[in-house]
Amino acid sequence: MTRTALLVLADGRFPAGGHAHSGGAEAAVKAGRITGAQSLEAFCRGRLHTAGLVAAALAAAAAGGVDPAGLDAAADARTPSPALRATARRLGRQLMRAARATWPSDELDAVARQFPKGAHQPVVLGLTARAAGLGPADAAYCAVYESVSGPATAVVRLLSLDPFEATAVLARLAPELDRVADRAVTSASAVPAEGLDVLPAASAPLLEIGAEVHAAWPVRLFAS
């Protein structure tokens, strides 16, 4: 693996469409649940330990060579919100396009053919890491970081929050990101022996409900 490949994949400017999504922050801002740096941090922490953990475990398992179709079904079962399932597939399709251009591989081509409407983004993220010569831990780190960096960047735009404060939130969460990535890798590594049930399924009721509310808005700044 090359460390630079990890930076390319984790870069917010990697052209995979993530910048158009707030990770539920737009709905939480509108509902008055995020009002500044402190509530942004609590939001990010909750998202990290739920959606972030699940995404990281799926990504790590895909990077480790677990069958993508099984992982995609496991992602569906862990995503009751149809709005979030649609978002995950759209982001998966966009990431797939960028990944195939960046790190061409037969495996990516095969999964793209198998899921013409897109597989869940964390599964594609894991496969992309694999194509880039990266491992399960790298994929898990990308996923946990995305799970908090998306909302933090979005809240800078939504609330005109000072970008320094938003970045400080991410830095304060760093030790927790490390722990969640570790946990994700541990459970992903147990999949070959114990099956997909061993993957975490942590959920956040307000993220799911908020996603459904947000999808019904006629006008919004972010796609999700």
């Binding site: 539920g24 939480a28 649940r33 995020i34 509530s39 609590a42 939001f43 990010c44 922490r45 909750g46 998202r47 990290l48 330990h49 739920t50 953990l53 079904a73 496991a74 569906d76 079962a77 862990r78 995503t79 009751p80 919100s81 149809p82 709005a83 399932r85 927790e176 997909l196 049930d197 975490p200 399924a201 942590a202 959920s203 956040a204 009721p205 307000l206 993220l207 799911e208 409900i209 459904e212 509310v213 999808a215 019904a216």
Partner: protein
């Protein structure tokens, strides 16, 4: 390692005359099952908690198995309250539900209340045949009135024809991963509820995604089932939302 170990079991079978028989109705220790008056087609059972609990160290399980053509409705006489025990061990409560093709189960227990200092893990596993019908309600209330909650971990897994359509975990209370009470997860709300509805007709015509209340919505799952998720400030307001949702969705 103290604690009470108990497994109660219900088996419901079509009696061949359009009704439902209960060949097995096995209470165990604190988990007492009583058959109550049902309808011509449906058998009804009430789970009576004969003592408070589960306490730390307890291992409770309730199993219901509904055969083809049988209809079973299960409720409980009162809320289940998780309390701290004498030991440092956590308490575990497992619910295992199996419904065969053409069987029907309404699983509608009273809420689970997580009292201060308690540590409970609840796992509900549902296995449904392709043509089975299910209504399952789960309500969790964090703390009695004005009380801090204990640690409550729950997992709900539903399979239809062997395929997992829902797998959800939730952890709340002191000792749960960070952010559980924050703006992404519960935002200070103290009651969380879910309804799982499974029916074969959803394969052709899925339930429509819809907002029911400020913090409640219907979500079609990736399979012939739907989930209602709601959070509310307290158990009473939660039940009102879930009752309304059930009245709208549960048309037979």
């Amino acid at each position: 390692m103290g604690g009470v170990h108990a497994t109660a079991r219900i088996e419901a079978r079509a009696d061949g005359r359009g009704g439902t028989a209960l060949p097995v109705l096995a209470s165990d220790g604190p988990l007492a099952l009583r058959r109550t008056r049902g309808t011509a087609a449906e058998a009804r059972v009430v789970l009576v908690g004969a003592m408070s609990g589960p306490l730390g160290g307890d291992r409770f399980a309730v199993e219901a198995d509904v055969g083809g053509g049988a209809r079973l409705r299960v409720g409980s006489a009162a809320a289940t309250i998780a309390l701290p025990g004498q030991t440092k061990d956590d308490a575990r409560y497992e619910v295992r539900l199996t419904v065969a093709d053409d069987g029907e189960l309404d699983w509608l227990p009273e809420p689970l209340i997580s009292a201060k200092g308690s540590d409970l893990s609840v796992v509900t596993r549902v296995d449904l045949g392709a043509g089975a019908r299910l209504v399952l309600r789960e309500e969790q209330v964090l703390g009695r009135v004005g009380e801090e909650p204990g640690l409550l971990r729950s997992r709900l897994v539903a399979r239809i024809a062997g395929r997992v359509v829902l797998d959800q975990e939730l952890a709340c209370g002191p000792g749960a991963p960070g952010g559980w009470d924050g703006p992404a997860v519960l935002a200070g709300q103290r009651a969380i509820g879910q309804l799982v509805l499974a029916r074969p007709e959803f394969a052709e015509r899925p339930a429509e995604a819809r907002i029911l209340a400020e913090h409640a919505c219907v979500m079609p799952l990736a399979g012939p089932a739907a989930l209602v998720t709601a959070v509310a400030p307290d158990g009473l307001r939660l039940r009102r939302v879930l009752d309304e949702a059930l009245a709208e969705l549960d048309i037979r």
